[in-house]
Every structure is written in C-alpha cells, then in structure tokens.
Amino acid sequence: MSSKDQLAVKNLHVGFQNKKSFTKIIDGINFSVKKGETLCIVGESGCGKSLTSLSIMGLLPKTGKVSEGEILFDGQDLTGLNEKQMSKIRGNEISMIFQEPMTSLNPVHKIGWQISESIVLHQKLSKKQAEEKAIDMLKLVGIPSPDKRIHQYPHELSGGMRQRVMIAMALSCNPKLLIADEPTTALDVTIQAQILELMNKLKTELHMSIIMITHDLGVVSEIADKVLVMYAGKVVEYSDVKTLFANPQHPYTQGLIESIPKLNEEQDELPIIKGSVPSPDEMPKGCRFSTRCPYATNACFNEVPPMISGEAGHQVHCWKYTECWEIVEKEGLIDAGMRETAAASQLIGS
C-alpha cells in the first residue's frame, strides 16, 4: 500500500453464514483509492457491490461475515475493530449516502436536527454551533434559504433536495472517504446531473476520496477517476476511466459498454449479454463469466484466469489476453508451465 492510499482493500472475502454452510459472495477482491480520487464500482445487481461498501462500513447484516482479507483505512485494518471503535469512524471519517433519498431521512425529525446529530456526536460541538454548521452544510450543497429549511421535515422536500440533504449530512464531519451507494439511481436525469456535478465540486473542495457504487456507465464517465468492474463477486477489470471506455478488455466490460444506446448511430436492437448471473452455490470452477462469455473455452470453465496487468495499472482477469491464449483456444488444456507463462503475460495495447 502506498502512503497516498486512503483506502486499500486486499484479498477481501465476504459471505453469509447460516447454520450449516458459508456462502461466499465476494471472492478475493483487491482495490485501492487514493486521496482525492473517485473510484466507481460497476456491476449488475447481486455482484457484491453493495456488500463491499457495507463491509467497509462494518455494517454487514448479522449473518454476513468478512472471512478473509483486510480493509486498510489510513493504514488501519477496519476488519479487526470492535463496534465501539468502528462507530467512531462511521459518519466521521467514512460517510455513506444511500440509494433512496425518499427513505434515507427519518420522517419524524427535522432535517436540521438530523444533520446536526452526527456533528454533535463526532465533533463535540454544542447544539447551537452544530445548527450553524448544519446551515453552512446546506448552503454548501446548494439548498436555498437553509436557515428556514432546517426547520422542515423530510416530506416537505423534493427527492433531489433530500439527496442534497443526505450529502450535507454525510459531509458534515469532513469525512476522508465518502461511499455513495447508487446515489442518483432514484432521481431523474437533470437532478442526477446536478448531484454528480455537486459531488465532483465537493470532492475537490474538501479533498476527499469517493467510492461510488453504480450500474450506470453514464455516471461512471461523469465522475470516476478509476473503475472497478465486478462480476459475481470477483473483479474482472480494474483501470482508469479513460482507458476503460477507450479500450475495454474483458468481454464482460465490452458487453456492458456495447449495451449502452449510442446517439450517433442508428440501432434497431441493443446488443445484450446472454444468460444470467450464476447463483453463488453453482459458480463455475474457472472464470465466473465463462457461462456467458462468447470466447469461453475449456480452460475458462476449469481454471481461474490470472490477473494480467497493462500500462497505468490496467488489470484484467481473463485468459484471452495471456500469451498462451492461442494454444488454450485450440487445445483447451493447461499445464503448470502454461499457467506460469499466462500469469506473467502483459496486457498489450492498453
């Protein structure tokens, strides 16, 4: 981990424990977020995006468990902290905003009170000072006449306003890391653009890191510095945003990008990725995308693909870019020597 990393997730495994068995959902993911950087985690529903963010916050449901790996925040492993230590970090150093602005605010409390609650808790300010800070925060997120708004209840605000309030709440203690779990999904596009612009502005002003969870590649292109593409609990591709859109390598990423409608071309039908995500207990032995991949061979079904690095930290987990792909494609067989050559391969042309 370099000293500039705000957050580094190393070999994280998360799953659900029931009486008999442990179902692994996230299987060994790695990524890091530098100070002042935005990382987008992309993937379809159920691929473990939200679970990743909940693991960082330490808010996994009761049966959820981090079984392996570490989450280093400022060099400190969060997985080893107890509830009391964690609650000092939550809302203070790491904040979170949620998908549904309509239900993320408590209907029975005024918004000023809700914002100042965590200010009083973490910054030990008086109620009066906290209220002033709440007004400042509302001003910061662009809410008009904030001194009146703090006396309003959530139902008196529109969806976009509420999401701004949520952002104000999350930023009220100057967190080092903001986790945004699909913050714009429930909003209409114009409001969506405003919120993204606001987040970009605040990121530079407050110099914080953002992890944005989304399934909308449009949002990714607006806000991300780096992108982590996840599929079925594994990372398939990790790269900076320009490279990803200019030169997507993994067949899954390519599929995602192709399935966005293009404005400058006439399309009768959008390309789709055939099939559906396999359930956690019937994952293929090899590459998890192999059941839906147009290029899949025997090797893909049976052997976990190696990570292949390219320029500027571009990483792809796919057999297709290994040096022995041609042999693998023809013969479909792997021996130990080939595995070594494969792992040593470099991604060309990225």
Binding site: G91, H109, S118, L121
Partner: protein
C-alpha cells in the same frame, strides 16, 4: 389589497417556525369537532375528579334513610340509591377511581411493553422468540378472565386491580411496538443513522422509537378506555374497589338489583362509563391526526 398582503407577511415573519408549527397542529386539532367536544368532556371529568369534594353537593358516603331510592330531582340530580346516598356525588367521586385505574394500568403496560417490544424487535433472535411466546401465552386467555385470575391471586383492592389490568394490557403493547420496530429497522434511514456512527441504543431511542409513537398513542387511548371498563368489571365482580369507596363498576353492580324499581341507580354510572370511554377514543384519534406531520 397590497397593504393587506404586506400586513399578513409581517405577521407571519414575527412568529418563530416552532410557534407556527404548534399553531398549525392546534388548528388541525380544532378542525376535528368531535375530538374537541370529547377533549372538553375529559377535561371536565378530570377537573371534577380532582376537585370532587368541592363539586359534589353531598358526601358520597352520607346515608339519608328518609330519601331511599328517590328518583332524580332538583335536590338530587341523579336520584339516590338504596341507602339514600346521592348518586351524582358518588359518580363524581367514582370518576377518581376510574380515571386513576385507566391511566395507571396503561402506564404500567406502556412502561413494560415499550422497552420489551423495542428490544425484541431490534435485536430479534432467541430473546425475541422467548418474549413472543410469553406474549402469545398471555394473549391466549380472554382478557377479563386473565385479569380476574390475577386480581384474585393478588387480592381484592384497587391497586391490585390496576396491576392485574396492566399485566393483561402489556402483551398488546409489546406486539405493537415490536411490529413497528420490525417495519422500521429495515428502512434506509436506520441504516443511515448507523452509518453516521450512532450506537444501537441511540438508533433505537431517537430514530426508531418516535416512529412508533403514532400507532402507540391510538392503542394507548383505546387501552385506557378498556382499562376503565376492566376496572368497572372487576369492581362489579367485587375484586376491584372495595366499598364504601364509590366506583362506577361497583355502583353498576349494586344498581342491578333495583333495575325494575330504580333504574337510575345503574343508569347514571353506566352513562358515565360510556361517555368517558367514547370521549377518550375520539380524543385519541384527534391527537393522532394532529401529530402526523404528513397531514399538514
């Protein structure tokens, strides 16, 4: 016209937001005519119960053998009973017992039901399972039979009757609070509260509990009403208030024997039980509507 508008704007500005909110709530309450009438009756009843010695024209225990079972008259507004006591005075003094029974037994039920329900609903698991099975067991008895059994075990008397009624009412509150907590604990604002670093107890008390208040308020008023009826029933059966203290239930019971000759002995306390119970229910509805911020 313009002047008028200016004046209105000035007026609005003078009031603080909090004051405007309370004004709005009061206005909403006053719109509900039935609730206002009910509230008026309750205030009247509480007032006369508090100042019973001043309000009641006679000593509720004073017997006058020259006026046995007199029908209502200017002298005795509700007539006299079988040993010549003034029924109106006895009804006024009986209000003390009934209101006390209603409030205290519901307070007992709330005091036990709210914390137990909050804990069961929030933490779930084994503890929840045990609590719910106990409430199921309690709910499986007809409530009056259970109250009767408990009162019989504890011994006759108003205090014990209130404890018994409180125990009988508790499972309803546990269930209600737990159900509300279950509905609210999965909402995103609870997760958001946890994500802002709040500890469990604060999430429960400050974020979840206030959201359970509206249905609880209604349930509590209903429970006060049914506690008054239960106390009257227990007194009627001889397990509640002991003579000579007047109580509506005991008066009803005593009047039963003279229903053909002097119906007013039973009718007076009966009407008061009815009016009190219905007023409390209507008032409770009004309060709920007033408190709901969405009905502004």
């Amino acid at each position: 016209m313009a002047q008028l508008q200016e004046a209105t704007i000035k007026e609005v500005k003078v009031q603080s937001p909090r004051a405007t909110m309370y004004m709005g709530m009061l206005k909403r309450f006053l719109q509900n005519k039935l609730a206002v009438v009910a509230g008026f009756f309750i205030v009247l009843l509480i007032g006369s119960a508090l100042f019973a010695p001043a309000v009641a024209p006679y000593d509720p225990g004073a017997q006058d053998y020259t006026k046995i079972m007199n029908s209502p008259s200017a002298e005795h507004w509700m007539g006299t009973d079988e040993i010549g006591r003034d029924i109106f005075s006895r009804v006024i003094f009986g209000a003390r017992v009934s209101l006390q029974a209603g409030l205290i037994s519901v307070a007992i039920a709330l005091g036990v039901g709210i914390p137990v329900g909050l804990i069961a609903g929030y933490y779930r698991g084994f503890l929840d399972e045990i609590i719910m099975r106990i409430t199921d067991a309690l709910l499986s008895f007809p409530s009056l039979v259970l109250a009767l059994a408990l009162a019989a075990v504890l011994g006759a008397g108003l205090e014990n009757a209130m404890i018994a009624i409180g125990i009988v009412l508790t499972p309803n509150f546990i269930r209600l609070v737990r159900a509300e907590v279950l509905a609210h604990r999965e909402r995103e604002y609870v997760e958001a509260a946890k994500a802002s670093g709040l500890r469990d107890w604060r999430v429960i008390l400050v974020h979840i509990f206030p959201n359970t208040l509206a249905p609880m308020m209604v349930q509590a008023t209903l429970a006060i009403a049914s506690a008054i009826i239960s106390e009257a029933s227990l007194s009627y059966l001889g397990l509640g208030t002991q003579p000579p203290t007047p109580s509506w239930g005991a008066m009803l019971s005593a009047g039963q024997g003279y229903l053909a000759d002097a119906p007013w002995i039973a009718i007076a306390p009966g009407i008061f039980i009815f009016l009190t119970v219905i007023s409390i229910n209507l008032f409770g509805d009004g309060v709920r509507d007033m408190l709901d911020p969405k009905l502004k």
